[in-house]
C-alpha cells in the first residue's frame, strides 16, 4: 500500500513538474478508522481509481487514532473519513470539507445531528455503506420470487424507518428487547416469514448469536439474507452489499468532481453493489437460485437499477 502511495506521490510529483501551468494539486487527507483489511482494501482501491483517472490529487493517509490537527501541517482541501470513528474525529478536529464513507446512513445522520453546531451542511457529505431499503427488497423479490413475507428482527434502540413496500410484499418486523427473548422472537418470526433479512444490530447479530440464528433459521428452512459476503460464507443464503473497492470508486469520482467544482455531491447510497450467493445452502433448502447476473437483470427490469 505504501508502495502504491509512493508511486502515486511520485506520479503526482512528475505531473506537477511536467505540467507547471496547472494549478496546485488537490490535497486530500484520508482518515481511516482502523487498519483491518477492509480499510486497506478501500485505500488501495482509491489510489488505483485516482491513478487510473490521472487525477491531480495528493492523498495523505492517516489513522484516526494517530491523527491530530497539527499532523502534516500541509493545507487540506478535502477530508475523506473512512468509517464512523474517522468521521467523528474529522467532524470535530478539522474544518475542511468532509466526505464520509463506509458508514451506515443512520449513523452518519446521527453524527451530523450531534455535531450540527460545528459544521454547515454543505461542507459535509457521505457515500453510505448500507443499501437502500428499496434495493434490498427489490433484491429479495428478484432473487427469491414467492418469498413475500420478509422477517426483520431489531432491538428497540435501533433506529429503523420502515420502508414503503413493493407490490405483493409484506414486512414482519419484531423488536427484541433482550438477549433472553431473542430466540422466542426468532422462532416466532421464522414461523411467520418466508425469509429473514439481517438488519445490522450488534445487540442481535453478535457473532455468537449469528451462529444460533443461522442454525435455527436453517432448521426451520427459512433462508437468511445477510449484509456481507461473511454472512454468505457463514451460511446465509445470499446477500447484497457494497465492497470497499466499490465504495472507493465512487469516492474517487466524488473527489475528482470536487477537484474541479469544489462542491461535494449530496449524501448518497453506494451506486454499485455485489451479490453473494451460497449455492450449497440454496441446494440444501431446495431453493432454485438464479445467477447474480440474472438477479441483477431482474432488479433492473423491476426498476431498481443496479450496476
Amino acid at each position: 500500500m505504501f508502495r502504491q502511495l509512493a508511486i502515486l506521490l511520485t506520479a503526482s510529483a512528475i505531473m506537477l513538474l511536467t505540467n507547471p501551468v496547472q494549478a496546485e494539486a488537490l490535497n486530500v487527507r484520508l482518515v481511516m478508522s482502523g487498519s483491518a483489511p477492509p480499510y486497506q482494501q478501500f485505500s488501495a482501491a482509491l489510489d488505483k481509481a485516482l491513478a487510473e483517472n490521472s487525477a491531480d490529487v495528493t492523498v495523505i493517509e492517516t489513522q484516526a487514532d494517530a491523527v491530530s490537527r497539527s499532523n502534516g501541517g500541509a493545507k487540506i482541501d478535502l477530508i475523506v473519513a473512512v468509517g464512523m470513528k474517522a468521521m467523528e474525529l474529522a467532524i470535530t478536529d478539522f474544518d475542511a470539507p468532509l466526505l464520509s464513507t463506509m458508514i451506515p446512513r443512520a449513523s452518519y445522520e446521527m453524527l451530523r445531528e450531534k455535531y450540527s453546531s460545528l459544521r454547515s451542511s454543505n461542507a459535509v457529505s457521505a457515500i453510505y455503506l448500507d443499501q437502500p431499503w428499496e434495493r434490498q427488497l427489490n433484491f429479495i423479490q428478484a432473487a427469491l420470487p414467492g418469498h413475500s413475507v420478509v422477517g426483520v428482527l431489531y432491538s428497540p434502540d435501533t433506529p429503523i424507518v420502515l420502508p414503503r413496500l413493493p407490490q405483493g410484499m409484506s414486512l414482519n418486523a419484531k423488536s427484541v428487547s433482550s438477549a433472553k427473548t431473542l430466540f422466542a422472537a426468532l422462532e416466532n418470526i421464522l414461523n411467520s416469514s418466508d425469509v429473514l433479512l439481517v438488519i445490522p444490530d450488534s445487540e442481535i447479530y453478535s457473532s455468537s448469536n449469528v451462529r444460533n440464528i443461522l442454525l435455527t433459521s436453517y432448521r426451520q428452512r427459512v433462508p437468511l439474507v445477510g449484509v456481507s459476503q461473511a454472512y454468505v460464507n457463514a451460511g446465509a443464503l445470499c446477500a447484497i452489499y457494497s465492497t470497499p473497492e466499490q465504495l472507493a470508486e465512487q469516492v474517487a469520482k466524488a473527489i475528482i468532481s470536487f477537484a474541479s467544482s469544489r462542491q461535494l455531491p449530496g449524501p448518497q447510497y453506494p451506486e454499485s453493489f455485489s451479490i453473494g450467493i451460497n449455492n450449497q445452502v440454496a441446494r440444501s433448502l431446495g431453493i432454485e437460485m438464479a445467477s447474480p447476473d440474472a438477479i441483477r437483470q431482474r432488479m433492473k427490469k423491476a426498476g431498481g437499477g443496479g450496476q
Binding site: S33, A36, P38, G83, M84, K85, E88, I103, P104, A106, S107, M110, L129, D130, P145, G146, H147, S155, P156, D157, T158, P159, S175, S177, S178, K180, T181, L182, F183, A184, A185, S192, P200, D201, S202, E203, S207, S208, V210, R211, N212, L214, L215, T216, Y218, R219, V227, S228, A230, N233, A234, G235, N278, N279, Q280, V281, R283, S284, L285, G286
Partner: protein, 696 residues
C-alpha cells in the same frame, strides 16, 4: 446466580460502550457490516433436499408432532407411510416398517442424535424407558429403505433418525402437565440458556399411565401394564473456538413397569420390572474450511433391567414348588466414530469415516454366557452432481460383525430433475441385519423337579446376517411456492435368510422340558412390493395437510423342508416331527404375508386460527394386519385423534418472554370406544387428556 451473571454481563456491556464511545446505543457502525464469522452451516451440517436424497424420506417436524397430539414418541410413526404402530401392552409399543412385525421389531435402525438405541440383547427399541421427552424432539427423519452407507449396520428396512433440540433451542423455562383418562399423569420441566461460548438445556420429566384397562362387556384377560418413567436429559454445547463445537449429551431414566398375569401364570406372575437407562455422548465437530469438516463422536448407553420373580406351582409333579425366574440383564454399548465431510468441488461432496462398537451383556438366565461383541465399520458416500439435472449418490459400508462375518452394503441412486420442481429417482441398495445376541446365544432354562426343566430358548447358533436388496423408482414434486410437495414411489425388496423362531425338537432337551424349546434359524426368503405416497399440502398461510398412503404386498417361502432323521427313533416318529415342523414353516410363511396391510394411510391436518387457537386432527386407516407373535389378526382399524389448543398471555408478556401458556385438549380414538390393537387384550378405549403448559 443466573440473574447475577446476566446483571454482570449487562454492566460489562455498558462499561464497554461507555469506554468505546459516546454514541447512542443501537447505531450500527461499519463493524456490523464488515465483521467476520466462523462458518456455521459447514459441509456436514447441510443436508440434502428430499429431491436429492438416495432414499425416500419422511420428515416429521415439530409442528406435526404438536398437531398429532401424541404423548408417546412411538405414536408419531403412524405418520410414516407403511409404518405400523401397535402396543403389545401399555408400555411396549411396537414400531415396524413394512411388516414382519412382532414384539421385537428388529429390522430398522433407530438413532437419537446419531446414537443407536436399537439395543441388545433382543435387538429392539425400548420406547417406554427412553431417557427422552417428546417435547425435546425437534424433528424426525425416517429413511424408507436400506441405508447402511449413511446410517450404519442394521439399517435394513429403514432408519428412524430422531433429532432433538439444540442446546440454545430452549432459552426459556417451561413447565407442562398432562392429566387424563387411563391414569395419564405426566409432568415435564425444561429450561436452558445461551451464552457466548456455552449453551445448555435441561429437561426433567415424569410420565406414566395405567396402560390398557379392561373393557366392560369384553371377555379378555386384563393386562397389568401400569408404568412410570422418570428422566433427566441435558444437552450442552461448548465452542472453544469459532471452528470447534463440542456437543455433550447426558441422560438418565428410571422406569417401573408392571408385567404378568393375575390368573396363575407359571413363570409370569404380576410384578414390577425396574429398568434404569443412561447415556453419555460427546461429539466434537471441527470445521476445517468452507468445504470440509471433521467429526468425532463417542457414546455409551447403559441399561439395567431388574426382573426377578418366583413361579407359581404348575405342571403338577414336574414343578411342585416355587422357582426363581430372572430376566435380569445389564447391557453396555460403547461406540466411537470419526467422519470427514468434504466438498471436493461445488458439484461433489464426499462423506467417509470409520467406527467401532462394543456391546456387552450380562444376563445369566437369558444368554449362554456373558458376551462382549465388537464390530467395526468403514463407510463412504459420494454425492455427485454430473450436470445440474443429474445427480448420483453412491456409497457403501463395509462391516465386520461380532461373529467375524464381513459384509459390504452398497447403495446407488440416480436422481434426475425433469424440471427444477420435478424429480425422478431410481435406486438400488443392499443392507444386512446382524443376528442379535438372543438369536445366536439365547439360553433360557430353569431347572424344576429333576429331570424336568423349563427350557424356553436354546439357540443353536451359527447364524448368518439377513440380507435385504431394495429397488425403487420414485417421483418427487414441488407443487407450489408455498412448499407443497408430492412424493410417490414403487418399490420391490427381497430379503433372504430371514431368521425366525424355530420350534426345535432336540432329543437332548425336548423330552425333559415342560415347554417347547425354541431356537432361531435362517429359514425364509421373502419379497415386499408396493406403492407409497406422501402429499404435504399447504392450504394458505395457516393450514397444513399431510396425507400418506401405502399399498403393500409381501410373501415368504421356506428355504428348506424339515428333515429330522434321529437315529434310534422309529420312522413314524421322525415323519411326525417332520410333518409338524413343515406345518410350522408353512404357517409362518402364511402369517408373514399378513404382516403387511394391503392398504394403510394417515392424514394430519392442522390449522392456526387467529387469537392463538390451534386445531390438529389425525386420521388413521389400516387394513387387517397380523403381528407374528399375536394370536389374532388385527381387523380393519380406523381412528381419529383430535387436539384443540389455546395459547394465552398478553402480547406484551410474549415479547418479554414471560407469562405465556397453552392449554390443550386431546381426544384419542374419538370415533370408537374399543378398537382392536395388536392383540385381543390391547383394546383402546377413547382417551381424553388435558395439557397445560406455562412458559416464563
Amino acid at each position: 446466580m443466573k440473574q447475577l451473571q446476566s446483571w454482570l454481563s449487562a454492566s460489562i456491556l455498558l462499561i464497554g460502550m461507555a469506554c468505546g464511545s459516546a454514541w447512542a446505543a443501537g447505531y450500527p457502525s461499519e463493524q456490523d457490516y464488515l465483521q467476520e464469522f466462523p462458518i456455521v452451516l459447514s459441509a456436514s451440517r447441510l443436508s440434502q433436499p428430499i429431491s436429492e436424497t438416495p432414499n425416500a424420506m419422511t420428515v416429521i417436524d415439530r409442528g406435526m408432532i404438536v398437531a398429532s397430539g401424541a404423548r408417546n414418541i412411538a405414536d408419531l410413526f403412524r405418520l410414516v407411510p407403511s409404518m405400523y404402530v401397535g402396543y403389545a401392552d401399555g408400555h411396549t409399543p411396537i414400531v415396524s416398517y413394512r411388516g414382519i412385525t412382532d414384539e421385537h421389531a428388529r429390522r430398522m435402525q433407530v438413532l437419537v442424535d446419531g446414537r443407536s438405541i436399537y439395543l441388545p440383547i433382543f435387538g429392539r427399541v425400548d420406547w417406554a424407558e427412553l431417557p427422552l421427552d417428546i417435547g425435546d424432539i425437534e424433528r424426525i427423519e425416517v429413511v424408507r429403505g436400506p441405508s447402511a452407507a449413511s446410517h450404519g449396520s442394521n439399517s435394513v428396512q429403514g432408519v428412524i433418525n430422531i433429532l432433538t433440540h439444540q442446546a440454545p433451542g430452549v432459552p426459556k423455562a417451561q413447565v407442562s402437565v398432562n392429566r387424563g383418562d387411563a391414569g395419564i399423569s405426566d409432568v415435564s420441566a425444561r429450561f436452558g440458556g445461551a451464552g457466548e461460548k456455552w449453551d445448555y438445556r435441561v429437561t426433567l420429566a415424569s410420565r406414566g399411565d395405567s396402560g390398557f384397562d379392561p373393557l366392560p362387556n369384553v371377555a379378555s384377560i386384563p393386562l397389568n401394564d401400569n408404568s412410570r418413567t422418570q428422566l433427566i436429559n441435558t444437552r450442552i454445547n461448548y465452542r472453544p473456538t469459532g471452528n470447534d463445537s463440542l456437543d455433550i449429551q447426558l441422560g438418565y431414566s428410571d422406569s417401573s413397569r408392571m408385567l404378568g398375569d393375575q390368573v396363575p401364570n407359571f413363570h409370569a406372575p404380576v410384578r414390577d420390572q425396574k429398568v434404569n437407562a443412561d447415556f453419555e455422548q460427546i461429539t466434537w465437530l471441527r470445521t476445517l474450511d468452507v468445504a470440509s469438516d471433521f467429526q468425532l463422536n463417542y457414546y455409551h448407553i447403559g441399561r439395567n433391567t431388574k426382573d426377578e420373580r418366583y413361579s407359581v406351582p404348575a405342571y403338577g409333579a414336574k414343578a411342585p414348588g416355587s422357582y426363581l425366574f430372572s430376566d435380569n440383564a445389564v447391557i453396555h454399548r460403547h461406540d466411537f466414530e470419526m467422519q470427514h465431510t468434504l466438498r471436493t468441488s461445488p458439484d461433489n461432496r464426499v462423506v467417509w469415516g470409520a467406527g467401532a462398537r462394543q456391546d456387552s451383556a450380562t444376563a445369566p438366565n437369558i444368554l449362554r454366557y456373558s458376551p462382549t461383541w465388537r464390530e467395526y465399520r468403514l463407510f463412504g458416500h459420494d454425492e455427485w452432481r454430473i450436470t445440474p439435472a443429474n445427480l448420483v449418490n453412491i456409497g457403501a459400508m463395509a462391516e465386520k460383525n461380532a461373529l467375524g462375518q464381513t459384509r459390504v452394503s452398497p447403495r446407488i441412486s440416480y436422481n434426475y430433475h425433469l424440471t427444477p420442481l420435478d424429480t425422478l429417482r431410481a435406486s438400488v441398495s443392499v443392507a444386512y441385519r446382524n443376528p442379535e445376541m438372543i438369536e445366536e446365544l439365547g439360553n433360557q432354562s430353569v431347572p424344576l423337579a429333576a429331570p424336568w426343566k423349563w427350557h424356553n430358548i436354546s439357540a443353536a447358533g451359527g447364524l448368518n446376517p439377513e440380507k435385504a436388496i431394495s429397488r425403487e423408482i420414485g417421483y418427487i414434486g414441488q407443487l407450489d411456492d408455498a412448499g407443497s410437495t408430492l412424493d410417490v414411489r414403487i418399490f420391490h425388496d427381497q430379503i433372504s435368510d430371514i431368521i425366525w423362531v424355530d420350534p426345535v425338537y432336540d432329543p437332548a432337551i425336548y423330552p425333559t422340558s415342560v415347554v417347547t424349546p425354541k431356537s432361531f434359524k435362517s429359514d425364509f426368503n421373502a419379497y415386499h412390493s408396493g406403492l407409497e405416497g406422501t402429499l404435504n399440502y399447504r392450504l394458505g398461510a395457516h393450514s397444513k395437510l399431510t396425507v400418506n398412503y401405502s399399498h403393500q404386498i409381501a410373501g415368504a417361502t421356506p428355504s428348506r423342508a424339515s428333515s429330522y432323521a434321529y437315529a434310534g427313533y422309529p420312522a413314524a416318529i421322525n415323519a411326525a416331527l417332520n410333518t409338524a415342523l413343515n406345518a410350522s414353516l408353512t404357517s409362518y410363511a402364511y402369517k408373514y404375508a399378513q404382516t403387511v396391510p394391503l392398504n394403510s394411510g394417515s392424514l394430519l391436518f392442522s390449522h392456526d386460527f387467529s387469537g392463538g387457537t390451534q386445531l390438529g386432527a389425525g386420521f388413521y386407516h389400516i387394513d387387517p394386519v397380523r403381528s407374528l407373535d399375536a394370536g389374532t389378526l388385527q381387523p380393519l382399524t380406523r381412528y381419529l385423534d383430535l387436539r384443540l389448543a389455546q395459547r394465552f398471555g398478553s402480547r406484551r408478556s410474549r415479547e418479554k418472554g414471560s407469562g405465556n401458556g397453552e392449554i390443550a385438549l386431546v381426544v384419542q380414538n374419538a370415533l370408537s370406544d374399543h378398537y382392536f390393537d395388536y392383540s385381543s387384550q390391547t383394546r383402546h378405549k377413547r382417551r381424553v387428556y388435558l395439557t397445560a403448559a406455562l412458559e416464563f
